[in-house]
């Protein structure tokens, strides 16, 4: 059974090197993807993540457990990425409209003219065959940065909306808009992928 973050934290505090490696195995890669949504290059993302691990070690004694370890760690990462990054994520408003579905797929009265094609079974089959995961990764990496950050934390990492708002310093409303756009884009990419195969 997988040890909880809390258990790893306890072991880490008592000086257990393997507990640190376990945490790194759990969160290093997710943090790299998240950092990459803030900074201009993979190299800079790696630097930010490395700094975050050091900050975790240095902050161990001060961590009071008011949030989960994961939220704390990701929050350190985002703060560092923001001060390092040049994408200025924060200042871009969420307000510009971006429809979930291309308007040309609806008729004049707003009903489907070109309705969604079935792809769920095909996607399940391909995922099981191990041939879809890398595509999904690539699609997520191509989402606009802020949508990507929200989708990574909510849907890949399974964090709650409250946790995501804390980590990314977003309002509930903005978090939801970004999540909606990110998921809607991904849905469209699945549909396109399986339309081509048919």
């Amino acid at each position: 059974m997988m040890e909880s973050d809390g258990e790893l934290l306890l072991r880490l505090r008592s000086g257990d090197e393997r507990a640190f490696v376990s945490l790194v195995e759990r969160y290093h890669e997710p943090m790299l993807h998240l950092a990459a949504s803030f900074v201009p290059s993979r190299a800079v993302a790696e630097e930010v993540v490395q700094d975050t691990w050091l900050a975790l070690l240095r902050g161990l004694d001060g961590f009071e457990g008011r949030s989960s370890l994961k939220t704390w760690l990701f929050r350190i990462l985002v703060n560092r990425a923001r001060t390092t990054g040049t994408r200025e994520q924060r200042s871009v408003p969420v307000a510009d409209p971006e429809p979930a579905v291309d308007p040309s797929r609806f008729d004049g009265s707003g009903g489907w003219a070109d309705p969604p094609e079935h792809w769920i079974e095909a996607a399940e089959g391909r995922l099981e065959a191990g041939k879809l995961a890398y595509r999904i990764r690539a699609w997520i990496d191509e989402l606009p940065a802020r949508q990507r950050a929200v989708v990574l934390l909510r849907d890949v990492e399974g964090m709650s909306s409250e946790e995501v708002c804390t980590v990314l310093a977003l309002s509930e409303g903005n978090q939801r808009v970004l999540l909606h756009r990110g998921r809607s884009r991904l849905r469209q990419l699945f549909e396109d992928e399986f339309r081509e195969v048919r």
């Binding site: 090197e17 790194v24 890669e29 969604p116």
Partner: protein, 86 residues
């Protein structure tokens, strides 16, 4: 009945409510209108199922493994930090 009909959703509006619906943040009346629309619209029902599937597929991505070399680098990082503590 006319008033009710005027408040009916069209598909193009329904797809914009999917995330609010799944997040449980729609008002009670918006949720009712959304569900009433789904009851009569197989395409939007399919669309909702696809959004759920999108979330499910994304949630099943496993993190890539650390390379042995990276593992060693992190052990080094930890040991350097420990020695600074002394």
């Amino acid at each position: 009945m006319r008033l009710l009909q005027r408040r009916d959703l069209v598909c193009q509006q329904a797809v914009e409510l999917v995330t609010g619906y799944l997040e449980g943040t729609l008002s009670r009346s918006a949720r009712r209108r959304f569900e009433a629309h789904l009851a009569g619209c197989p395409h939007c029902t399919e669309y909702l199922a696809q959004m759920r599937e999108t979330i499910s597929l994304t949630g099943r991505l496993a993190p890539e493994d650390l390379t042995p070399q990276m593992r060693d680098e992190f052990v080094d990082l930890y040991r350097r930090w420990r020695s600074e503590q002394q």
